[in-house]
């Protein structure tokens, strides 16, 4: 376990404050807005240089939307995102294009994330050309270096994406993200679509790259084992809100929020002899169109109290052994 040591702990590289993304639900002949899907509803967190923040939660809880909204790949409804102390949401298109060099994204589906009509060389090198970072021989050289770095033969640059396997395509996606020398990468379920053996290879590659280039990752995943393995800190999302943020080992040792506890309890342990108390959740996730009042989790919480139904739980910080665990729950 050679997790990157946390450096520069004081000033975060990326700060997300009260980020919201609400999608309109249109209906009727004039397609008026009849409701809002609150995909991401008021989330705040920091990412420090060189660290990995895991973002976990079940399908449909807004993980991917959060990752895309903070990069402004979709326009957030409101909130603030500071990258290097610059507010991304106030930037004009040209400024934004410049700062995009420093923040990249790796996608879940390696089959749809590469343009089928472009060669690998063009896919990886296009950004270098457009940002006028490298041309001609220098571009060729940088391409070879990038492909080599992600474990592909540099001779592949003239091939098309359909000639590659899923794992190889994901490596191409990583090379594209690395091309501009970013400091922050959103890994949006970057290994979820791959076989387990390939998953391990890609995760190791991501960790090597992190150590080499001092990258910060926002690692979005629904797979707790993967996140536990790679993340320094973990944020747990439920129904568009973050319910708990804690260092990875603390979160797995002593989860504070009932939802986190249920998630960890539901995670299978590869040992048939260990019996763990099944604390399975009942019911379904409520619709984000009409989320429950108060605490979003109160409809399924095993230790629900009266005030959970009406009052939004405040932020509670639990400090222990110099580690800070933040939880939004009335129990603490």
């Amino acid at each position: 376990m050679n997790k990157t040591t946390l450096q520069n702990k004081t000033t975060p590289l990326l700060t997300v404050k009260n980020l919201k993304k609400h999608f309109p639900v249109r209906s009727g002949f004039f397609s008026h807005i009849s409701a809002w899907v609150k995909a991401v509803d008021d989330i705040s967190f920091d990412v420090y240089a060189g660290e990995t923040l895991g973002l976990v939660g079940e399908s449909g809880c807004g993980k991917t939307t959060a990752g895309r909204a903070l990069l402004r790949l979709i326009e957030p409804t409101s909130g603030e995102v500071y990258f290097d102390n610059k507010n991304l949401l106030k930037m004009k298109a040209t400024e934004l294009r410049q700062i995009r060099r420093q923040m990249q994204v790796i996608f879940q589906d390696p089959y749809s994330s590469l343009n089928p009509r472009m060669t690998i060389g063009n896919i990886v090198g296009e950004a270098l050309k457009v940002h006028e970072i490298a041309t001609g021989e220098a571009l060729k050289h940088r391409l070879e270096e990038l492909l080599d770095r992600v474990g592909l033969s540099p001779s592949y640059h003239s091939r098309y994406p359909h000639e590659f396997s899923g794992g190889q395509r994901q490596r191409i996606g990583i090379a594209r993200a690395l091309a501009l020398n970013p400091t922050f990468i959103v890994c949006d379920e970057a290994v979820s679509a791959l076989d387990v053996s390939i998953q391990a290879q890609i995760i190791n590659l991501l960790r090597d790259l992190q150590a080499e280039y001092h990258l910060a990752y926002l690692f979005i995943s629904h797979d707790l084992n993967v996140v536990q393995h790679i993340a320094d800190r973990i944020a747990v999302m439920y129904l568009g809100k973050i319910v708990e943020i804690a260092p990875a080992d603390t979160l797995f040792k002593s989860p504070k929020h009932p939802y986190t506890q249920a998630l960890i309890a539901a995670n299978p342990i590869p040992d048939p002899d260990i019996k763990h108390e099944a604390k399975l959740l009942e019911g379904d996730v409520p619709s984000p169109v009409n989320p429950p009042s108060g605490c979003p989790f109160h409809t399924r919480c095993p230790s629900v109290m009266d005030k959970c139904k009406h009052i939004k739980p405040p932020l509670t910080e639990i400090k222990k052994e110099g580690k800070s665990q933040i939880v939004w729950c009335h129990l603490h």
Partner: protein, 310 residues
């Protein structure tokens, strides 16, 4: 394991040439294009086949008839034989068909060029900038409702109306067919763009900071263009048919300029006395329309990703 890397074009050709029908369609189209270009040159620039010479003594001669001795020397057609017979004024049907082939083909291509251009432009705008609001209405609503309005008119009667108002020249016909047949392409391109806009590779292009025009023209259009091209090729066949129908009704290109449609129209009066006047242009239209459709279908098959070799 040194497989020569294949470009999408090579892969396309490999699949396309397996389809015998599509290849025969392509052969017919190639012959037609040669005939059309030759027709333009040999009947207008250097008159080797004269479609306008009237030889009243030799009217209604069946195909491959020889010339009677009463015809003046300068009016004798090339090869000394009427390859496809003569019409009611003794004009050489072969020369007239040659002249008509250029009209048909150029109307087909120009009209489809206009309609595809409008279609890609409007469809692309609606698909990419659809959410932009202009006052109380979005770009998408504006463009697509206008498209629906245009679709409500039966195209052929719309064309007839406009043709009745404008002088019936070949250029007007091209433009009118073009601006009344872009609706399908618009819907098509919009749908493709809506789907592509959400694709990860387009989002990735945005994420690496590419300018918008580059995303549209280098990432989205090449992925949307194949089905548009196919529908354009089938559209050429429709435009040729429309022109023939207009000429047949007398609203199209006016005599003495020959098109397949007006040769057919003249021929219908003599269908029992001189059936070749009716069948020659009819069969020519049939084959050309069929060939365009076969090539279009062949391309559709060849571009089907399920048939591609991984």
């Amino acid at each position: 394991m040194t497989v020569q890397p294949k470009t999408p074009l090579q892969e396309f050709w490999r699949l396309f040439k397996k389809d015998k029908l599509a290849i025969s369609g392509l052969v017919i189209l190639t012959l037609l294009i040669i005939a059309a270009l030759a027709g333009k040159m040999l009947t207008e620039w250097m008159i080797i086949f004269d479609p306008a010479t009237v030889r009243l003594v030799d009217k209604f001669l069946p195909p491959l008839s020889s010339i009677s001795e009463h015809v003046p020397i300068e009016d004798i057609p090339r090869f000394g034989v009427y390859l496809l017979g003569t019409d009611e004024l003794g004009r050489d049907v072969f020369a007239r068909m040659l002249q008509g082939s250029f009209v048909s083909l150029s109307i087909g291509f120009v009209a489809v060029g206009i309609s595809t251009f409008i279609g890609i432009l409007l469809g692309g705008l609606a698909g990419f900038y659809g959410n932009v609001r202009l006052g109380f209405i979005t770009v998408d609503t504006l463009i697509m409702r206008f498209t629906d309005v245009m679709l409500c008119f039966p195209t052929f009667f719309l064309i007839l109306t406009v043709v009745a108002l404008l002088p019936p020249s070949i250029y007007n016909i091209m433009i009118i067919i073009g601006i009344t047949s872009w609706m399908g392409t618009t819907r098509f391109v919009r749908a493709e763009f809506l789907a592509l806009r959400e694709q990860d590779f387009v989002i990735a292009a945005k994420a690496v900071g590419l300018p918008e025009w580059r995303i549209i023209f280098l990432h989205m259009v090449p992925n949307a263009i194949a089905p548009v091209l196919i529908s354009a090729i089938i559209g050429v066949a429709t435009a040729i048919l429309t022109e023939s129908a207009l000429s047949f009704l007398g609203f199209g290109v006016q005599p003495p300029y020959a098109t397949w449609g007006n040769i057919l129209a003249d021929g219908k009066n003599f269908i029992f006395d001189a059936p070749w006047l009716f069948f020659i242009p009819g069969i020519a239209i049939l084959f050309v329309v069929l060939a365009f459709n076969l090539v279009g279908e062949g391309m559709r098959e060849a571009l089907n990703p399920k048939l591609r070799r991984r």
